[in-house]
C-alpha cells in the first residue's frame, strides 16, 4: 500500500493526492485566487477599478512618500503584535506547563474552559470589557460603591488595545505551546535531574529546546493574527490607535480606493506570510500533531 505511489507508473493519482484534491481546489479558489486579485489591484490605477487592465506603481509610491503617515499604522500594528506575543509567552507558559504536568485529570476541563471563548465572537467579549471599564461600569461602579473615588480611566488608550489583543489571542498561544511542552519526554527530565542538573538548568537546557517547536508556532500564530487585528483598536481602543488593517478597511470602504487598500494589504501579507513560511519550513508537523 505504502509503495503504491512509487511502483505504479500508471497515470492514476496517488491516494494521498486524490484525497487532498477537494481541499486543494477550495484553497486555490478561495485563498490563493483572492490573494492574486489583491496583488493585481495593488498595481492598478489609484481610485479606479481597472484591475488586470492597468499597471502602475503609484500606489506604492504614495505609501512610501515621506509625507504619508500610513507607516505609523504599520509601526503600531507590528509593535502591538510584538508586545502581545511577548506578554502571551509569559502569561501562557505556566498554564501550558500546568496542563501537561500539574492538573492531571482536570486538564481536559481546563482546556475546554480556554477553548470555549473561541466560539464567542471577539466583539462580544471585547464589549464585555467595555462594560467593565466604562464610567459607571462594573469596575468604576464597584469602586464607588465601596467608597473609593472611582475607577481609573483606562478605556480608549493604546494600553487597553494591547490588553484586548492579549485577551483575544491567548488561546492561539496556549494550545500550540501545550502541544510543544507535551513533546518533552518525562525520562529525559528525570535523567537530567539524576545527573545533578538544577531546575533552572533543566528548564533551559532540556525542556525549553524540546518544547520550542510548539512555542514557536504559538508565537508565530499570535503575531500574525495580532498584526492584522482591528476589532480591539476599534472597540476597546476607541481608535486612539489606528492599526494597518483599519487603514486597509477604510481604503476599501469609505475611501473607495481599492488599489491603495490592496497595496497596503499586499505589504502586510508579504510581511506576515514571509514570517509564517520561513518558520514553518523548520517545523515537522507530523511530530507535533501526531505525538499522542
Amino acid at each position: 500500500m505504502a509503495d503504491n505511489s512509487l511502483s505504479a507508473p500508471a497515470p492514476k493519482l496517488s491516494p494521498g493526492l486524490r484525497a487532498s484534491l477537494p481541499v486543494l481546489v477550495l484553497l486555490v479558489a478561495g485563498f490563493l485566487a483572492p490573494l492574486v486579485t489583491v496583488a493585481a489591484y495593488a498595481f492598478a490605477t489609484p481610485k479606479s477599478f481597472d484591475v488586470f487592465r492597468s499597471f502602475t506603481l503609484q500606489n506604492f509610491a504614495a505609501i512610501f512618500d515621506t509625507n504619508n503617515t500610513v507607516w505609523t499604522s504599520f509601526v503600531w500594528a507590528l509593535a502591538l503584535a510584538f508586545a502581545c506575543v511577548a506578554i502571551l509567552l509569559v502569561v501562557c507558559y505556566p498554564i501550558a506547563f500546568g496542563l501537561n504536568k500539574v492538573f492531571g485529570k482536570w486538564s481536559g476541563l481546563v482546556s475546554v474552559l480556554f477553548v470555549f471563548p473561541l466560539f464567542v465572537s471577539e466583539n462580544v467579549r471585547l464589549y464585555g470589557w467595555v462594560l467593565f471599564f466604562i464610567k459607571n461600569g462594573v469596575l468604576d461602579g464597584a469602586l464607588k460603591w465601596l467608597g473609593f473615588p472611582g475607577g481609573p480611566d483606562l478605556l480608549y488608550t493604546p494600553g487597553i488595545t494591547l490588553f484586548g489583543m492579549v485577551y483575544v489571542y491567548l488561546p492561539f498561544m496556549l494550545f500550540p505551546m501545550t502541544l510543544g511542552i507535551a513533546m518533552i519526554p518525562r525520562d529525559l527530565v528525570d535523567a537530567a535531574s539524576d545527573l545533578g542538573a538544577g531546575r533552572f538548568m533543566i528548564w533551559r537546557e532540556v525542556e525549553l529546546p524540546l518544547a520550542m517547536p510548539g512555542i514557536l508556532i504559538g508565537a508565530l500564530l499570535t503575531f500574525v493574527l495580532a498584526a492584522g487585528a482591528v476589532a480591539e483598536a476599534k472597540i476597546l481602543g476607541g481608535q486612539s490607535v489606528i492599526t494597518i488593517t483599519q487603514d486597509i478597511e477604510v481604503a476599501f470602504t469609505y475611501a473607495q480606493n481599492w488599489p491603495m487598500g490592496s497595496a497596503l494589504a499586499l505589504i502586510l501579507v508579504l510581511i506576515v506570510s514571509g514570517l509564517a513560511l520561513s518558520a514553518m519550513a523548520r517545523l515537522d508537523l507530523d511530530k507535533i500533531l501526531g505525538k499522542r
Binding site: A2, S14, P15, G16, L17, A19, S20, P22, V23, L26, L27, G30, P34, T37, V38, P94, I95, G98, V102, F103, V112, L113, F114, F116, P117, F119, V120, S121, N123, V124, R125, Y127, G128, W129, L131, F132, N136, G137, V138, G141, A142, Y167, L170, L221, V224, G228, K234, I235, T245, I248, E249, F252, G261, A265, V269, V272, S273, A276, D286, R292
Partner: protein
C-alpha cells in the same frame, strides 16, 4: 527541599491559571449583567434586574432573521467542511505521498492569516468574478478558514489510526467502501464529531469574515458590531449572552456525544 519547591510552584501555577480563567470569563459575565438590567443605559451596581430586554430580543423579528442566517450559514459550513476535511485529513496524515509536506503547509496558511484581511481579499475576488456578496459568499469565506481548522482536528485522530487495520480488511476481501464504512469511519468518528462541532461553533461566532463577505445579509456577530459602534441598546448584551449560552449548550451536548462515542468504541474494541 525539591518537593517543597515543587509543591509551591504547583500551587502558584494553579493560582495563576484560576486567575486567568476568571479574567477570561469576566467580560462575558459583565455582558450577561448588562443584558439583565432594567433601563436603557448600563450602570453598576445594578439597581433593578429585569428580563425586559431578553423578552424584547426574543420577540424581535429583525433578530429572528439574524438567527436564521447564522444557523443556516453554520449548518452548511459544518456539513461541507467535514466533507472537505475528512479527505483532507487523510491526505494530511494517513497517506505517504509526494506532495504531503507542501500540502500540510498550504493548509496552515489560511489559519496563519489575519481574518479581516482575508475577508477583504475575498470581497475583492468576488467582485472581480462579478458575484455580489450575500450569505452564500459568507459560507465560502467561512469555509476557507474553517476547513483547515477542521482538517487539523480530524488529522490528529488520523495520526493515532493504524493503517494496518484498513489493509487487513482489504486483504480479507472487503471492498473500499465497505472498509471505509466498517473500519475507517468508526475509528475516526470521535475526530469527525469534534471537527463538526468546531466547524459549527467557529462559524456561529465568526465576525471578521462575515463582516466583509456577507453583503447586505447580517449574522448575529455582525449585527452586534453594528449596534456597538452606533446605537447601543441593552439588546446587544442580551443577544450576545443568548448567543454565548447557545454555544455553551452545543459544546456541552457535543462533548457528551463525543464521550458516548468514545465509550462505545472502547466497548466494541473490548468485545473484539
Amino acid at each position: 527541599m525539591q518537593t517543597v519547591g515543587r509543591t509551591r510552584t504547583h500551587f502558584l501555577i494553579r493560582a495563576w491559571t484560576t486567575f486567568v480563567v476568571l479574567a477570561i470569563y469576566l467580560p462575558i459575565a459583565c455582558g450577561a449583567l448588562a443584558g439583565l438590567s432594567k433601563g436603557r443605559y448600563f450602570a453598576f451596581p445594578i439597581r433593578i434586574f429585569s428580563t425586559e430586554w431578553w423578552g424584547k430580543t426574543w420577540d424581535s423579528f429583525e433578530i429572528h432573521v439574524l438567527v436564521q442566517n447564522s444557523v443556516l450559514i453554520a449548518l452548511i459550513v459544518t456539513v461541507l467542511s467535514v466533507l472537505f476535511a475528512f479527505f483532507g485529513a487523510l491526505a494530511f496524515a494517513r497517506y505517504p505521498w509526494k506532495g504531503r509536506r507542501a500540502f500540510q503547509r498550504l493548509l496552515l496558511l489560511p489559519i496563519f492569516f489575519p481574518q479581516p484581511v482575508l475577508g477583504l481579499a475575498l470581497l475583492l475576488w468576488f467582485n472581480a468574478l462579478g458575484i455580489s456578496p450575500t450569505w452564500k459568499t459568507a459560507v465560502v469565506a467561512h469555509l476557507v478558514w474553517i476547513v483547515p481548522v477542521v482538517t487539523l482536528v480530524i488529522a490528529i485522530q488520523v495520526f493515532s489510526f493504524d493503517p494496518v487495520l484498513e489493509e487487513a480488511a482489504s486483504d480479507l476481501g472487503a471492498s473500499r467502501l465497505f472498509t471505509l464504512r466498517t473500519v475507517t469511519l468508526p475509528i475516526l468518528w470521535p475526530g469527525i464529531w469534534s471537527g463538526a462541532l468546531f466547524a459549527f461553533l467557529l462559524s456561529w461566532g465568526n465576525f471578521p469574515l462575515s463582516l466583509y463577505t456577507a453583503g447586505a445579509d447580517s449574522t448575529i456577530p455582525k449585527w452586534l458590531y453594528s449596534k456597538m459602534v452606533a446605537g447601543y441598546t441593552p439588546m446587544v448584551p442580551a443577544l450576545g449572552t443568548m448567543s454565548t449560552l447557545t454555544a455553551a449548550a452545543l459544546l456541552l451536548g457535543g462533548g457528551l456525544v463525543r464521550f458516548l462515542l468514545r465509550r462505545r468504541a472502547e466497548l466494541r474494541a473490548r468485545e473484539r
